[in-house]
């Protein structure tokens, strides 16, 4: 049995005017475990706290109940008071007799009775309280960034800038990501490469940053501050230390039929390749699927022409194991597949293209060397139609329910660039809504209409029909005119919805980070913690969390970096002791608790258990108190009651219920 002291606060007249505090003191003094009860004007004052300390020392109290204002106000105060008197701070419970009682009730008798009941509930809870101690864990001062696009690069640069080591793992042979595929960027029309390349160079030159390109995260274990990650460095077949990046191998390679990933399959590349001219590192890889040497054993031309002797057909995948304190996910996006949107004839005509493909066509390093031409016959188009919201804002099963956010702006950009460079081309844009929230965004869109004469039609396209003469017949509607429109076009550009990179599912599972129904990674709080994952130590950067344009991505990348730096700056992590705890003897190992844990705090171990004389190996749940945030979802999922929450234990809550109902 505890030795409990009850302290009833008057809070001036805030409580005492409606609650008979003397009566409360008198009533609770009869409760089991209560050895001391007193009231005072202001319990939170220095004098009030001194009274508490004195009582703890003199009456050897083991638990405190303070009947006062909301615990949200002074729970911490009184916990510290208890600690000063040598009592475990978690042996304190607050009965909220101000906000929940005196302030809302007028009748003194009624309010006093309720205050007594609230005090009894708190006493019942303290009776079952146990001292709790925060845990400590160390922090590895190194961060991992998964994804080497603009989000990953910016995060890495910011973390490195603060003086911490940071590794970037990039799946493709070069960092740069989606942004490296873009031609110009809105709303200022800078050349994408001109602003991205310096960042890429900076990242590769920074001695705190280590790049793992052509590599993938294979396995993640551990938890916040102490992750262990296996990284698979795929065999490049080119020795990075020897290669000078001269490019002769790529020129000589006889296998040239592989569709270029970088150019979205609009042209081909060699089997040994760097994705694009400014690639970092500027070291090619051999695509073993396409390479004649690997397929037939004959060829080896690249090895012969390489003066540096960098070609190494024997190279194997390598697993590197590293430790990290924080992980930033920056896996980016891709455009959705259009196979379910046959009405736009994407698969039927080469002249129906996605906007990202148009970026490559417009780019001087692209498949058409920057000339706007039809891919079917190389002719210069006269009429171009842009269709918005292809797969975005679709609540049916074909598309995505969300707005992809960037399409309105890039379509305005495309329309404007085309009209600027080729004033002879008529550009029509079919839109549902034009969404331009952003600094100088609406002005940008209006310029396309007002200064460049782009024809914006409010309405959608129902069908694109390729004609025998190579033209595309577009059937749409002008809602403002209430007319159906049939027009011929030479090219149709689809503002295709974006979706998280396909790898994100696998990565989220490894990190036990949660993802939503659209595969976007979930943030810890939609408003207040937008760059943190609910899994402690995991941060989100860029489009993996939700659609974003470049400025937003860069801003979020910086924010994620700050959060990671904040974590890395700590030497030790103190953990909240009100965490879940599993009773090994009762645990079934059924995994249901882990299924509901938003933090991935629960893992399973096979352990030798001695259950009253029966010794056997059992699969049991283990809660990592560094990760557990104490929500209690697992405790209710656990059918055997093995899982309980310290500080809010089952029996404590039941005791409160008993005290209220009796």
């Amino acid at each position: 049995m505890q030795r409990i002291g009850v302290f009833v606060c008057h809070c001036g007249s805030n409580i005492a005017a409606t609650v008979d505090v003397k009566k409360v003191v008198e009533m609770v003094s009869h409760e089991p475990g209560v050895v001391h009860a007193e009231d005072y004007q202001y319990m939170c004052s220095e004098v009030g706290q001194a009274k508490i300390i004195e009582a703890i020392r003199e009456k050897h109290l083991t638990g405190l109940v303070v009947c006062s204002c909301s615990p949200r106000m002074h729970e911490t105060t009184f916990r510290k008071t208890a600690e000063r008197a040598g009592l475990n701070p978690y042996m304190v419970e607050i009965a909220n007799i101000r906000e929940h009682c005196s302030w809302i009730h007028k009748n003194m008798e009624e309010a006093t009775e309720k205050a007594v009941i609230l005090a009894r509930a708190a006493i019942a809870k303290v009776n079952l309280d146990a001292p709790l101690f925060p845990g400590e864990s160390r922090v590895t001062k190194r961060a991992l960034v998964i994804g080497g696009g603009i989000a990953g690069i910016q995060t890495a640069l910011d973390i490195a800038d603060a003086g911490y080591e940071v590794d970037i793992v990039e799946k493709t042979p070069s960092i740069g990501g989606r942004m490296s595929q873009l031609d110009k960027t809105f709303p200022t029309l800078d050349c994408s490469a001109c602003i991205l390349t310096p960042k890429m160079v900076e990242a590769s030159a920074n001695e705190k940053i280590h790049l793992y390109t052509y590599s993938e995260v294979e396995k993640v274990s551990g938890f916040v501050g102490d992750f262990t990650v296996d990284i698979r460095k795929k065999a490049r077949s080119v020795d990075m230390s020897k290669c000078t990046g001269c490019g002769v191998c790529q020129e000589k390679c006889p296998s040239r039929k592989t569709p270029s990933e970088f150019n979205r399959g609009l042209n081909t590349r060699s089997a040994i390749y760097t994705p694009f001219a400014q690639a970092i590192p500027n070291v090619p890889v051999i695509d073993r699927e396409a390479c004649i040497k690997f397929k037939t054993g004959k060829c080896g031309l690249c090895q012969k022409v390489c003066q540096a002797g960098a070609i190494d057909y024997e190279q194997k995948d390598e697993i590197v194991t590293e430790k990290y304190g924080a992980i930033v996910v920056a896996t980016g996006f891709d455009t959705i597949k259009l196979d379910k949107y046959d009405e736009y004839a994407y698969s039927q005509s080469k002249d129906v293209i996605t906007s990202l493909e148009l970026e490559r066509i417009m780019n001087a390093a692209g498949p058409t060397k920057g000339h706007l031409e039809r891919l079917s016959d190389g002719k210069h188009p006269k009429n171009m139609v842009f269709i918005q919201c292809v797969g975005s804002r679709c609540s049916d099963k074909r598309g995505k329910s969300y707005c992809s956010k960037i399409c309105c702006m890039y379509t305005a950009k495309h329309a404007m660039l085309i009209r600027d460079k080729y004033p002879d081309v008529n550009v029509t844009v079919f839109y549902i809504d034009v969404r331009t929230p952003g600094k100088n965004f609406d002005e940008f869109y209006r310029r396309a209409v007002e200064d460049y004469g782009v024809n914006y039609i409010k309405g959608q396209v129902g069908k694109v029909m390729p004609q025998p003469n190579g033209q595309l017949l577009v059937q749409g509607v002008d809602l403002l005119d209430n007319k159906q429109i049939l027009m011929e076009a030479d090219m149709v550009v689809l503002a295709t919805a974006i979706e998280p990179n396909a790898d994100v599912r696998r990565i989220a599972t490894m990190l036990t980070a949660s993802i939503d129904t659209n595969n976007f990674l979930t943030e810890a709080h939609a408003k207040l913690r937008p760059v943190e994952s609910p899994t402690a130590g995991v941060f989100l950067s860029g489009v993996c969390q939700g659609p974003k344009d470049i400025p937003e991505t860069v801003a979020q990348a910086g924010a994620a970096a700050v959060k990671a730096i904040g974590l890395l700056a700590k030497d030790k992590l103190m953990t909240n002791p009100c965490t879940a705890k599993s009773d090994e003897l009762l645990c079934n190992g059924c995994s249901q608790c882990a299924n509901v844990c938003p933090y991935g705090a629960i893992s399973y171990e096979t352990k030798l258990i001695n259950d009253h004389g029966i010794r056997e190996d059992r699969r049991v749940a283990v809660v990592n108190s560094a990760l557990c945030q104490g929500c209690g979802a697992c405790t209710v999922t656990c059918p055997s009651g093995a899982m309980d929450l310290q500080g809010f234990a089952n029996r404590q809550i039941l005791a409160e219920v008993d005290a209220i109902c009796r």
């Binding site: 009869h30 009253h612 004389g613 008993d658 109902c661 009796r662």
Partner: protein, 347 residues
């Protein structure tokens, strides 16, 4: 001897209920159990076996022992009043009555269980001979004659008539109080009862378990049976539920628990089952740890320990409820037969 047409059963019951509290087999949604009589209840004396044995008329599944009340700082203890109303247990079978005798050995021996004794003293047992014994019955093995139950009053159910014979003073007193509804029986009726008894005994001879042998269970066999390897094979299908114990007429183990009513404590006892993992889990914590041990306990108790302490009286009465009700079809007969086979293999 007396008699009454079976069609007049409702009147008989009403007449008894007018005198005393009456418990009898009542059909509730197809399941027959002993329950308090009420006007219009679905009395069923044709079903041979009630699901639960009638033991809870004397030893209820749960009963309050005393109550502690708390007001401010004061505690007061209120003892539980003992049963003080007479009641009739109507339609009990011979095996169940033998079950009560087993309970008597436990609860009426020193120290006497006053709750049980009060109920025994106030209860009048009106037995019913088993008109059509069933295949799961093996009361004869334990010396029970289901054609002639040992009770305050015995009834036979034949020829659409209930024949009524008072045996004890209690029985006679009840019979006298019912003179308004019972008719006097004549010599032909006496003859009919004899015929019914012969019929019953003839069927009993044909029952599949009637010749079950208890050889090898008497005498000083504790060590031998306890250490037998047979248990290890036998217990495997056991689910560790308490069905067998709760339908059994002789299982007498109980647990004592406190219930927090919010304004005090009610101490009550309730049936416990040796099949449960927390059986005899007391402060020391060293209860039987494996289901094999718990399983063994139940049968060792019935067939070895109990007779050893009670002049050879087995605490199984052959009612066959466990044969019918065990979810995994285990029962005491299979246990006895398994040991018989084991013994045969050894020879």
């Amino acid at each position: 001897m007396f008699k009454i047409a079976k069609s007049k059963l409702p009147e008989l019951l009403k007449a008894i209920a007018a005198q005393q509290e009456l418990f009898l087999p009542v059909n509730n949604n197809g399941q027959v159990n002993f329950a308090a009589w009420f006007e219009g209840c679905n009395a069923d004396i044709e079903t041979l076996k009630t699901v639960k044995s009638p033991k809870d008329m004397f030893f209820p599944q749960s009963e309050t022992l005393y109550t502690v009340k708390k007001e401010q700082h004061k505690l007061s203890v209120e003892p539980q009043a003992l049963a003080d109303q007479n009641f009739v247990a109507f339609g009990m079978k011979a095996c169940d009555i033998q079950g009560i005798k087993v309970l008597d050995k436990v609860f009426l021996a020193e120290p006497v269980d006053t709750f049980y004794r009060a109920r025994r003293e106030h209860g009048t047992i009106v037995a019913l001979a088993c008109h059509e014994p069933e295949e799961s019955c093996f009361c004869k093995v334990f010396g029970v004659d289901c054609a002639e139950p040992d009770a305050d009053v015995v009834m036979w159910n034949a020829n659409d008539t209930l024949y009524w014979k008072a045996v004890t003073d209690k029985g006679t007193a009840l019979t006298e109080a019912l003179s308004g509804v019972l008719e006097n029986a004549d010599a032909a009726d006496e003859k009919a009862v004899e015929t019914e008894q012969e019929n019953i005994r003839a069927i009993v001879e044909k029952l599949p378990y009637t010749n079950l042998s208890l050889e090898g269970w008497n005498g000083n066999v504790t060590e031998e049976k306890f250490n037998s390897p047979v248990w290890e094979k036998l217990y495997k299908p056991c689910l560790a539920c308490g069905t067998c114990t709760f339908v059994c007429p002789t299982c007498q183990c109980y647990d004592i628990k406190d219930y927090d009513t919010g304004h005090g404590i009610q101490r009550y006892r309730c049936w416990d089952s040796c099949m449960y993992s927390d059986f005899t889990m007391m402060a020391h914590g060293n209860n039987r740890t494996s289901q094999m041990q718990r399983f063994r306990q139940r049968f060792m108790h019935k067939l070895v320990y109990f007779p050893a302490n009670n002049d050879g009286m087995y605490s199984c009465v052959g009612c066959g409820r466990c044969v019918e009700k065990c979810p995994s079809s285990l029962n005491i007969v299979k246990v006895i037969k398994a040991f018989e086979k084991e013994a045969a293999n050894h020879e």
